[in-house]
């Protein structure tokens, strides 16, 4: 019986290591990356975040910009309970970098059907790069509870 015990545990360990290997491959060889630290915005109780954001590039000027041919930058500020801007248009196949942050509470930033999924935390900058392969209308929604009208907070992403 102890022999079975030993074999089971070795097999379990091997399976877990194989899974981890697959994860490492997807992360480092296929470059499917998670959000990470992209800088902080300093504010304080006397200098509220809303006002600081108005003077902090790029969040002083939210919107869609073509930074070079085929490369777009989308700057988004989340408020309770709307995204600014709430209509975003980008071409299919272009490399789109979303830069987002929150002006008040913690919000979510999620586009179903893509791997764009990040939190927007006051004082932290979230960044995500993605290529929309197919044209169509996508839903950008806040998927973290952010108060009374959380269920109305969304934006449209149109890929042409």
């Amino acid at each position: 019986m102890e022999r079975y015990e030993e074999r089971f545990l070795i097999a379990a360990g091997i399976v877990l290591l194989l899974f981890l290997g697959a994860l490492a491959y997807s992360a480092f060889a296929m470059h499917i990356v998670l959000p990470s630290a992209h800088g902080m915005i300093h504010y304080s109780a006397d200098r509220p975040l809303r006002l600081v954001l108005r003077k902090t590039p790029p969040f002083d000027n939210p919107g869609v910009r073509e930074v070079s041919p085929g490369r777009y930058e989308v700057v988004i500020v989340a408020y309770a309970w709307q995204f600014v801007p709430d209509e975003i248009e980008v071409p299919a196949g272009a490399e789109v970098t979303f830069m987002g942050t929150s002006a008040d509470v913690i919000h979510g930033f999620f586009i179903p059907g893509t791997r764009i999924n990040t939190m927007l935390i006051p004082g932290e900058v979230s960044e995500f790069t993605y290529r929309f392969a197919k044209p169509g209308k996508y839903l950008l929604l806040c998927h973290e509870y952010c108060g009374q009208l959380h269920h109305t907070m969304h934006a449209d992403v149109v890929v042409k």
């Binding site: 089971f8 877990l16 109780a45 999620f110 179903p112 999924n117 960044e127 973290e144 269920h151």
Partner: protein, 552 residues
């Protein structure tokens, strides 16, 4: 064969202590009754039906969701753990506990729960059970939750005092396995609960009282998840105590290995600091740290796979002793007609799926597909709401008769209750998980929202159907429970069920060191320092800058 308790011939707790434990369990189930009422509203929400407007005393969907989470996930689990682990420790060591500590623990929890509940019902704490700053609740909410945690520490103190007394009388002996498992659960929780305690006492409570101007959203949510992951061990381990220590006996068999069981519990003490895997999509946490945490999280599956082996082998021993033959024939012979066995074996089946979906959530970049979708809700209704809660019900089917000295009212209905709950949760989880993979967000009042995707409709309806079956099944559980308690038929139930192990605990060598909890706590602190030290040092002193937000 070695019994897993100190005095196998018989030991009974003093009446006043048995009474405190009974009230812990009754209060826990009363809390569950309130909590699940709100669960029904959430299940229907996914099908686009808003019944929250009809709930008495509750204004919004999110207020109901806060009650559901706080009562079921935080209060029920604490009070059940307090009562059940006090009972198993006392029985394991064969000695009474400190009555003052037990009573203080119970009343602290009751006062804390009432404070938090009042704040929520008054509409001053609609912050869900994660209460992320800058959402700010009334100070009574934070103080109430603090008292709930303090009550678990008081129980922990009672267990450790009893262990010290037992060791003085039994120098050089191995701790009886039943007591070892129970005390290990609370030792793990003592380490794990520190993050939440610091978050609430240092950051949130002074902020809600207006003593400091702002909060630090990033640091406070990190401290929350420091405890927020291992809190699931705290929910699960009392159930493991039952699965390892009681179910083998109840099913008609015995547990095989003493050592393997202890190693599994020690691993949970070591693997506390993995909370960052709840923050895989957070900006402000580096990908290197996230990958290291994914690695450590996978290590936790090891003790759970050990449990799968150890408990399943115990069930096979039971099935074969009961006359089961062949490769799978033993599975049909494990006393399914005993509702306590039936409920808990079904809970184990749910844990297979719950464990696999947990592995998916923890899989680093795969988290991008499921984070904050209803997939997560499906996952933790398989784990917390079934593995744990259905096991609680199964445990109640012997423990309430034992504590009240009454006969269980209708074992047959109790079996039907366990089976229907299992069926309900399978349907519910299927709906929510498929919806989640289509991007259906969790924690969102979709029934009154202004957006939706067509692919969410069918999964939402399936979720609502499953949730309704779960609700009906829980109602049946309460009928059985109340009928048992109110029954006039008193019976004498002398002892609790406990198993024997085929392999005795070794008296020397490395196995004996498994009992030295302080070693494992030091080792755990070292791992915590490695995983959390750099991040926390970087965020000290906290930036008290975010203004409170109370628009909920």
């Amino acid at each position: 064969m070695t019994p897993i308790v100190s005095d196998a011939s018989g030991f009974s707790l003093p009446d006043d202590q048995r009474k405190v434990i009974r009230w812990n369990i009754y209060f826990g189930f009363a809390v569950l009754a309130v909590g699940v009422l709100f669960g029904l509203g959430q299940a229907l929400n996914y099908a686009g039906v808003n019944i929250f407007q009809y709930y008495p005393g509750v204004r919004t969907y999110y207020e109901g969701l806060t009650i559901h989470g706080v009562l079921n996930a935080l209060v029920l689990t604490s009070v059940f753990g307090n009562g059940f682990m006090a009972l198993t420790t006392a029985r394991g060591l064969g000695r009474p506990l400190n009555g003052f500590l037990l009573r203080s623990s119970f009343w602290t929890l009751v006062i804390g729960t009432v404070m938090a509940a009042c704040a929520i019902v008054a509409g001053k704490a609609t912050v869900l059970y994660t209460f992320y700053a800058p959402l700010q609740a009334h100070w009574t909410f934070y103080l109430g939750l603090t008292l709930v945690v303090v009550s678990t520490w008081l129980t922990s103190a009672a267990l450790l005092v009893a262990l010290r007394g037992w060791r003085r009388e039994h120098p050089g002996e191995r701790i009886p396995l039943l007591a070892f498992m129970s005390i290990a659960t609370y030792v793990m929780w003592d380490v794990a609960s520190v993050g939440l305690a610091i978050e609430v006492v240092v950051l949130l409570l002074p902020w809600s009282l207006g003593l400091v101007a702002g909060s630090d959203p990033m640091l406070s949510r990190t401290l929350f998840w420091f405890t927020g992951h291992p809190i699931v061990y705290y929910w699960l381990l009392p159930v493991y105590v039952s699965w390892y220590g009681m179910i083998p006996k109840q099913a008609g068999g015995a547990l095989f290995s003493d050592t393997l069981t202890r190693v599994a519990f020690v691993m949970f003490i070591l693997l506390v600091p993995v909370g960052f895997h709840h923050q895989f999509t957070d900006p402000g946490v580096g990908t290197g740290l996230k990958f290291a945490i994914a690695f450590l999280t996978f290590a936790i599956f090891f003790p759970s796979l050990m449990t799968a082996f150890g408990v399943m082998y115990a069930l096979e021993i039971a099935g074969r002793w009961n006359g089961g033959k062949g490769l799978v024939g033993w599975f049909l012979r494990i006393r399914w007609s005993d509702p306590s066995v039936c409920a808990q074996v079904l809970a184990m089946c749910a844990f297979l799926l719950g464990g696999i979906s947990g592995l998916m959530n923890a899989s680093y970049n795969m988290n991008l597909v499921v984070h904050n979708t209803t997939f997560i809700v499906g996952h933790f209704h398989l784990t917390l709401a079934t593995t744990v809660a259905l096991s609680y019900m199964g445990i109640a089917y012997w423990m309430v008769p034992y504590l009240a000295q009454k006969r269980l009212w209708s074992a047959r209905l109790a079996v039907a209750q366990a089976v229907s709950y299992f069926a309900g949760v399978m349907i519910f989880a299927h709906g929510l998980m498929t919806g989640g993979l289509e991007g259906m967000p969790r924690r969102t009042a979709l029934s009154i929202g202004n957006y939706s995707l067509p692919s969410w409709h069918i999964p939402g309806v399936i979720g609502a159907v499953g949730g309704t079956i779960m609700m009906a099944s829980v109602a049946l559980f309460f009928v059985i429970l109340v009928a048992t308690i109110l029954s006039r038929e008193e019976v004498k139930i002398a002892d609790i069920p406990f198993t024997e192990t085929v392999q005795a605990p070794s008296q020397d060598g490395w196995q004996a060191r498994l009992d030295w909890f302080h070693y494992w706590v030091y080792a755990s602190i070292v791992i915590i320092a490695i995983m959390y030290g750099p991040f926390v040092m970087h965020h000290l002193p906290p930036m008290l800058s975010a203004r409170p937000f109370t628009n909920y």
